[in-house]
Assembly symmetry: C2
Homo-oligomer: 383 residues x 2
């Protein structure tokens, strides 16, 4: 028997479980360890203020102060997303026929950079080896990605080297520091991108901090004003409610949470190894890819004739149903990765002990084996 | 003595007055008649939901139902702004070297349309006379603007005529219905843009309804999916908190408020005429331009050697200081129009009677005369 993964129905099932749990046990019963929940901890006073014409101005003033503390620079530009800031920077600074040079530690690059280069008619060159980087007269923007998708960090030396090359030719340097603005600083003690000499830096307010999905850019007043104009012209700025959420997230941001998760993930990993479980690590947690889950299930005696996506999704649904732990495969948008990823720096990690988490992770493998061997995969997925 | 208008200090003064009033009398004491306040009437339950990974999905489902009721079509796309939707539509549908044809009742066009045409390397032609409209083989998108900046509405016949011309050549029609989706429907009984035959329509959730600044697009599933891809690629979508605010605004939207304001503005206008005041009308209120204010002040015996922007700003500050009424010149961003515009469909109009408003408007002219003749303009503006 072969089963197709219906992404829409699978997600409906995930959301149905969540809605039911909110009704029965309250929203606090859910343990969201995706690391992707939108922080939006605003008060009713904030909401009243947002309903006046003046509200946006008030939050805009606060974000300036908090944003500069977090990122450095002279001026802050709140954005609808980090991508919005990348798009606006390229439209503002890169002329048709000129070139963008991108240095990143590991491929793939964020697709918005080559895509927007193409939109404005610019050339795009990407380097993962610092010795290869070639910045010539055609170049009008140098982009550095501060961390890889897997949160690997580039060295301070590499940063300074690329910045130096660009500045020798008077070319501005823009750092995509989506997670880096925190992981580089909190865990690796690196300076902010601006303090490393970059002209512009952008970060995501929902990555390793409890803000809404959104972006913050920092830089000199002159460059930020130039980009802000484009941001307003194309509808890329953060609206007032988002800015209010960012202000709250910056106010309560603490590098200690990330530092703790960074340390504790080793303990978590050791405890998993004790159970002969072998996940991949992330800077603040661990993850099982779809095929790792399938292998573990087979090791435990499951008869499986479906692919890894199906069993990873079933795993995620059972983890939610039985332990209230939210991971992406059950509730992510259609097409989302089927990796079960646990972010121990997520604020909901305070709701569960390490041992409880390990037990849930381990028992859920057994539960999926049972579902496989009783031919109940489809009913778990869709009913 | 000549006075320069320092836009930054002027706005700081306006915001200081507002902050003081919020402290002393509470936020409800403010009467915001700008018509531009961001509606963001979400509950603490909504906020809890927004803090889960599932929140966005829940609001996204609700906006589909409410958005289709409001705008027609098969599918809804919530946007960071109406402009964001215009930008995405042009990037998605218009190829370099082809042409955008734009029909609008009166210039100026919204600058985002020609600007994005240029960005993608397309030609752009604009027509204000329906008999001139020329849609040829080069055309890949026809845009119709449903209402002018002054909220003048184009006729159903004109709509149908342009849509017909475009469809004869299989070219999609996109309606910029920023205010039109309400003013055309509520006041002029016109169908939605989609029901008139348009393929896509976009509206602003903060214009003539109590939502946050943002946009909503409606259309066929196929076209919306195509544009949604671009929206996500370039960071133009509405984030979850914004979508939650839009859901609330659509839930409480009532055309009656607009219809009442539309009727009552005639009464307001008559009462102003009785006092020999002669404002310009808008569909849901009235406005005094900077020079109309200056003329009225001179008529009342003011000695004025400064320009209209200065006295209009002083007028707006005194209206706020003495009657708690917020208008743009006092608190708008630097460079904002110095027109004192009263939107009687703003929800805060319920906090004040017509006669109280008229008295405030009238007395404030006298108060500005006094300020002018006592040489106190600068201290009112900045101290």
């Amino acid at each position: 028997m072969s089963i197709e993964l219906n992404e829409v129905k699978r997600r409906e099932k995930g959301l149905k479980i969540i809605n039911q749990k909110i009704k029965d046990e309250g929203v606090d019963s859910l343990i969201d360890l995706t690391g992707l929940a939108g922080g939006f901890d605003i008060t009713s006073e904030d909401i009243s203020l947002l309903e006046t014409y003046a509200g946006p101005a008030v939050f805009d003033e606060r974000i300036q102060k908090l944003g500069i503390e977090h990122m450095g620079g002279e001026k802050i530009l709140p954005l609808n997303r980090t991508t919005s800031g990348i798009v606006a920077t390229i439209i503002a600074l890169v002329k048709p026929g000129t070139k963008i040079v991108h240095y990143l530690a590991k491929e793939p690059a964020h697709p918005s950079i080559p895509r927007t280069a193409k939109l404005v008619g610019a050339k795009y060159e990407e380097y993962t080896n610092i010795d290869d980087v070639l910045i010539d007269e055609d170049t009008t923007l140098v982009v550095i990605t501060g961390t890889t998708m897997d949160l690997e960090v580039i060295s301070e030396d590499a940063f300074r080297c690329v910045i130096d090359m660009a500045h020798k030719k008077d070319i501005p340097v823009f750092v995509d520091d989506a997670s880096g603005a925190r992981i580089r600083r909190a865990v690796y003690n690196q300076p902010t991108a601006i303090d490393l000499g970059a002209d512009l830096s952008v970060t995501s307010t929902d990555k390793l901090m409890e803000g809404p999905r959104g972006g913050l850019m920092a830089g000199s007043e002159e460059l930020i004003d130039e980009i802000k104009l484009v941001v307003n012209q194309y509808g890329l700025e953060a609206q007032a409610p988002l800015v209010a959420g960012m202000v709250k997230a910056l106010e309560k941001y603490s590098p200690e949470l990330i530092q703790e998760a960074f340390k504790e993930k080793d303990q978590l990993y050791d405890k998993l190894l004790d159970l002969k479980l072998n996940p991949q690590t992330t800077p603040t947690g661990f993850m099982f890819k779809n095929n790792n889950i399938k292998e573990e299930l087979i090791k435990r005696g499951a008869n499986i004739d479906v692919d890894g996506d199906i069993v990873a999704t079933v795993y995620s649904i059972l983890l939610l149903e039985q332990y209230n732990i939210i991971t992406i495969p059950a509730v992510g948008m259609p097409g989302a990765s089927k990796t079960v990823r646990i972010d121990w720096s997520a604020k909901d990690s305070s709701k569960i002990s390490m041992d409880e988490l390990i037990t849930a992770i381990n028992k859920t493998f057994d539960n999926v084996v049972e579902v496989c061997n009783n031919n109940c995969l489809e009913s778990v997925l869709y009913e």
